[in-house]
Symmetry: C2
Subunit: 442 residues, 2 copies
């Protein structure tokens, strides 16, 4: 987004955990700040050297350490690229429990440091559940070896959990072990057009009930986002006449072990949805080929790129109750209208899409002619206060980094922030580890 | 097991979080030790007052706070009995993500404090993934409110994770929010007899591949345990002629959304297993009725009770690599034989059963005529050293409590234990919160 410019004069690329430890010890002895960096694909300025701290790149630590095809446990260096790991275990018919757009360049240590969510979260859950072990170089250079490959280990405090989502402020993750699920043998998806937003929740319940354990994604796209996608060539997939004045769309995916069983479940679902007395949907389509499967996903995944083409996007990655998804988007648009900032001269589009199944809304406001302070002032802290009023999260999956430190208090109370500071101080009393990130300066 | 006798003269039963906070503040001001206690069903002496600390019972805090049937998120007081919560959400077609034998008396706050595993772990994963929020009274009486009901929230350190599995040594869990999965609409199980232990791993891979997402349990029972079960009336389920000299047994369960689909998958599995050129199994049976389903599980779940009838059991709850399950059991038996302690005068039976799918072996040695120091001396630290040599865990799911503090070092290195102590000291500098548990005394 062109928001940050790294100031580092030095980048170090260690090849071993011992080298990381030596670097950190050296920096600690001279109070030199360190910014751990993996793929540098984060969206909140978390891996940028803002005060000339050295950059500690993990990219040269990129070996798989072990993989057990029976248990599915993978151990790897932190600098392994997510897609490389996916490819590595694909030969054993396993998949990574997380997937995201940046997979071609993001690295597993960074994924874990930011507690990445992504597209498989609904099915395979949080990294707090799938990460089995970590090797971390602490801010004094000590190596904390908790690189267990055990699924169950109740021997004392689960310290590794602290580093998942700490964005490199408590130590440098150098090695990871993670549980990988068997690859599904069949994948299908459907795209549905809904007359009203209020149908989304009953639809989600129906889909969960009918598809059960094979449901692997349930993505929401509002009308503004859908139309934008169409304008940029991502469709049409559904017949425009049948779509009519549909207010929103849902993309659901299944991943299962038997193609015939899964298709039958999906066909039954679609049939029961279409033939209901008061249908929840206007229309829908079930992908019939790998090509169609890909183009349904392309609609959803292509939205980010469309945003960039439309102008400069203000991006908000929020958790709010499912029922409030559209209200939040509408409230932001209404706010901009009331401030006279909605239109070609200000924000041209406000839209929402995201992971309904996870309660995660991506809210985007497009500034056609670029970022401007008065636009930001209209959006913030308004959006953060709105999210706080719903007890939501101002950062569902992107993290805090340097961008959102001042917004932290909208999602975390004073006691929580005070205890984060205490934890930070115990691990990093010299404040050399990714300083200025996550916690607001006092 | 008759191993511990509580020494408390005072039990307090607060009804609100505020009362818990007041009690803890009072105790902190006078340095009075506190043992938080939920259902008191733990197996390692973690909720016993050993030094006349007061017992802080959460049992009177037993209300459901909220349940959202769309997202499946349940919020409840820590003192809610696990089975009551299961019953409560059953009406919304949801199930708790954990299930264990003690469900009728264990309480959710204790489950989370001990990071309980149990029978649904293979399918629904660790509490570190399913617990979304906690309300905790810290050792100075401060209420740490992280009772989020959001699935995704990447705003700073995930402090609540520290209390999952801390066994009440860092604070008192008073409220929890947890993600509950939709109830499966069909459940099936099969019991298989295997000629050799070495077939278990290829069988596990085959079953995982063929059953995929509907596999919900894969339990191992060795021949000694199976025969003991039969002697105590838990069978026979399989034809003894067909079982022959089978060395071990596997109970696999499926939970899915469509009974016909699931049965077809199971039948195909059984057929392919029976008709293979070099079959992995001697024989097997697929339950044909709810009654049969229950009796297959009764064989596995009844083993614990049989142990008690046979004598005094030395129980070890271990994580070891799947391939080592039987080696570990055999090594322990061989050790006892070599020490002349195997037989009616000492240990009569050594057996293993447990959750292959989780790498969790329950190893049991029965002392027919009761516990004796020389028996314990033959078993420990031998078993702990054996587990450590396989980089396993000396407590997979039961925790450390007061029983295993001296065994902690077999599964956690010095750096890890040192950091546990630092974390303990930050939260509980006066050492009033469940003192003497988890961490070995210095």
């Amino acid at each position: 987004m062109g928001k940050y410019h790294g100031q580092a004069t030095t980048v170090l690329r260690p090849r071993t955990t011992q080298q990381v430890s030596d670097i950190v010890k050296f920096c600690a002895s001279r109070r030199i700040g360190i910014v751990p960096q993996c793929g540098n694909t984060g969206l909140v300025g978390g891996s940028i050297s803002l005060q000339k701290e050295i950059v500690l790149s993990l990219g040269a630590m990129n070996s798989v350490r072990s993989f057990d095809p029976v248990s599915g446990v993978l151990a790897a260096d932190a600098g392994c690229i997510l897609e490389s790991l996916s490819d590595y275990i694909a030969r054993y018919n396993h998949i990574m429990p997380l997937d995201l757009g940046a997979k071609g360049s993001c690295q597993i240590g960074g994924n874990i440091s930011t507690n990445a969510g992504g597209l498989r979260f609904l099915r395979y859950g949080s990294l707090h559940g799938t990460v089995l072990g970590l090797e971390v170089v602490l801010p004094d250079g000590t190596v904390l070896d908790q690189l267990s490959t055990l699924r169950k280990d109740n021997t004392g405090y689960d310290l590794k959990q602290l580093f998942i989502g700490a964005e490199g402020t408590l130590g440098v993750i150098t090695g990871v072990s993670i549980l990988t699920p068997p690859a599904p043998r069949a994948s299908n998806n459907i795209l549905l057009a809904l007359p009203h937003f209020k149908n989304v929740l009953p639809l989600f319940q129906t889909v969960k009930r009918q598809l059960g354990e094979i449901l692997s994604a349930f993505e929401y796209i509002d009308r503004t986002a859908y139309d934008m996608g169409l304008e940029h060539g991502l469709g049409p997939i559904l017949n425009p006449d049948e779509v009519g004045d549909a207010q929103c769309f849902v993309l659901a995916e299944t991943s299962g072990g038997n193609h015939d069983h899964d298709s039958e479940k999906l066909n039954n679902l679609l049939e029961s949805l279409m033939s209901a007395d008061e249908p929840l949907i206007y229309t829908g389509t079930l992908s019939q080929s790998p090509g169609q499967f890909a183009s349904l996903w392309a609609l959803r995944e292509g939205l980010t790129e469309c945003l960039q083409k439309e102008g400069k996007p203000y991006k908000y990655d929020l958790s709010v109750p499912l029922a409030e998804f559209q209200n939040v988007v509408d409230a932001v648009r209404a706010r901009l209208i009331s401030k006279g900032l909605y239109g070609d001269h200000g924000i041209t589009k406000v839209m929402g899409y995201g992971h309904v199944g996870d309660g995660n809304l991506h809210l985007n406001a497009i500034a056609k002619h670029g970022y401007r302070p008065e636009l930001e002032a209209a959006l913030e802290p308004f959006i953060y206060e709105l999210v706080a009023s719903h007890k939501g999260s101002v950062s569902a999956e992107h993290g805090i980094g340097s961008m959102k430190t001042s917004a932290l208090r909208y999602s975390k109370n004073d006691v929580s922030i005070e205890w984060m500071r205490k934890i930070k101080h115990v691990f990093d009393p010299l404040n050399i580890m990714n300083p200025g990130k996550v916690l607001p300066s006092v």
